[in-house]
């Protein structure tokens, strides 16, 4: 049990120095840090883009997207065109109590209707409220950040998402 001092004293020095350096704390409820733009906080739905094609719901590993829709006839976009049949969403729910935040749904959506938003403040005292319906999901859409530019050396992207 040969105690030579340097290790013990040096340790004291480190803690003392840290004490004088001040804290690095971000006082969360009072001040907030913005998470990185890519952060997967919550999924936002841009309802106009969704065709209720069900791809996201099918690809979801957790089976936590519930979609119901119906078809409706719409007048043609261009003059003289055929009348279009569109799928309208009746229900688009994501169960955040079950979602594993994998992003598969966002990726598979061919119509750019789903986006990641970095928001995270939606804890609930009631588990049923974690099932966000399409209005709630639509609200998240306002929080979706702009796409960041890519690092040098990246190949140009063919299909830019929002």
């Amino acid at each position: 049990m040969a105690f030579k001092l340097p290790g013990l004293i040096g340790g004291l020095g480190i803690t003392f120095k840290t004490m004088l350096q001040g804290a690095v704390t971000v006082q969360y409820p009072h001040e907030k840090e913005q998470p990185p733009a890519r952060s997967r906080g919550v999924i936002a739905l841009h309802e106009d883009n969704c065709t209720s094609c069900m791809l996201c719901s099918r690809a979801c590993p957790d089976w936590c997207i519930y979609i119901e829709g119906h078809k409706e006839e719409r007048p043609a976009r261009r003059e003289g065109g055929r009348p279009r049949a569109v799928n309208l969403l009746d229900r688009f729910d994501i169960d955040y109590a079950l979602c594993m935040y994998c992003g598969i749904c966002v990726e598979v959506c061919p119509f750019d209707a789903l986006f990641w938003s970095p928001e995270y403040e939606y804890s609930e005292p009631n588990i049923a409220s974690l099932l966000h319906n399409k209005d709630r999901l639509g609200e998240w859409f306002h929080t979706v950040p702009e796409v960041e530019p890519l690092e040098v050396g990246a190949a140009p992207v063919a299909k830019a998402k929002k």
Partner: protein, 207 residues
């Protein structure tokens, strides 16, 4: 001669007639050995070939899962062929045990498989060769029901003692998947000619 071929020759020579078949799978040597020489193979691997490191022991059930694809059009559950086929180096029946051993010095390694009986799966234990085999064999017993003769205490490893069944057997159902309705089922009919139509069709074909 590539490294793999050298290794293959070395290993097959050392193991002699214990080897039934050998194959190469993505750069990895796979051997199928006779069940009764399962233990002596381990001894040879460790003592002669210098494979001092046990990577894992596990089992495999080649039966196609009867439960997969239960729901019509469920693309969330991957499709699998319906007839029984076997992987590298083949198999005689439904169950196989397989293990991977390695050498930390020569940096070689290979996979050993052995067929076990389907009705009463039995196999020799490797605990006396690789002490680390203890837990792996318990796991394999728990998951597949393969009994390792000579294992000191085959008891549940992961699951509570009252758990019944062998979860990794293909016929062990995942109840939650059967109980919960798949949300991917839809009554929205695809519109002719639209992009989504083709995709859904694609999916349907795959399923």
């Amino acid at each position: 001669m590539s490294d793999l071929e050298v290794l293959t020759t070395r290993v097959t020579e050392a193991l002699g007639d214990a080897v039934i078949e050998h194959a190469e799978a993505c750069g990895n040597l796979v051997l199928r050995v006779r069940l009764d020489s399962w233990r002596s193979v381990a001894e040879t691997a460790r003592n002669t070939l210098g494979c001092n490191y046990l990577s894992f022991i596990s089992g495999i059930d080649w039966m196609p899962a009867p439960t997969v694809g239960l729901i019509e059009g469920d693309t969330s559950t991957p499709a699998q062929p319906k007839e029984m086929t076997f992987g590298a180096a083949g198999s005689a029946g439904r169950f196989q045990v397989f293990a991977h051993v390695q050498s930390t010095v020569q940096h070689i390694g290979f996979t050993i498989k052995a067929d076990v009986d389907e009705a009463a799966p039995h196999c020799d234990s490797w605990v006396s060769v690789y002490p680390g085999a203890d837990w792996h064999e318990r796991e394999c017993w728990e998951m597949y029901g393969v009994v390792f003769d000579g294992h000191p205490s085959l008891r549940h490893l992961y699951l509570p003692a009252e758990f019944e069944g062998h979860p990794l057997r293909k016929d062990f159902p995942l109840l939650a998947r059967e109980v919960k309705p798949w949300p991917g089922l839809t009554d929205v009919e695809p519109m002719p000619g639209s992009e989504s139509d083709e995709e859904t069709k694609d999916e349907a074909v795959e399923a």
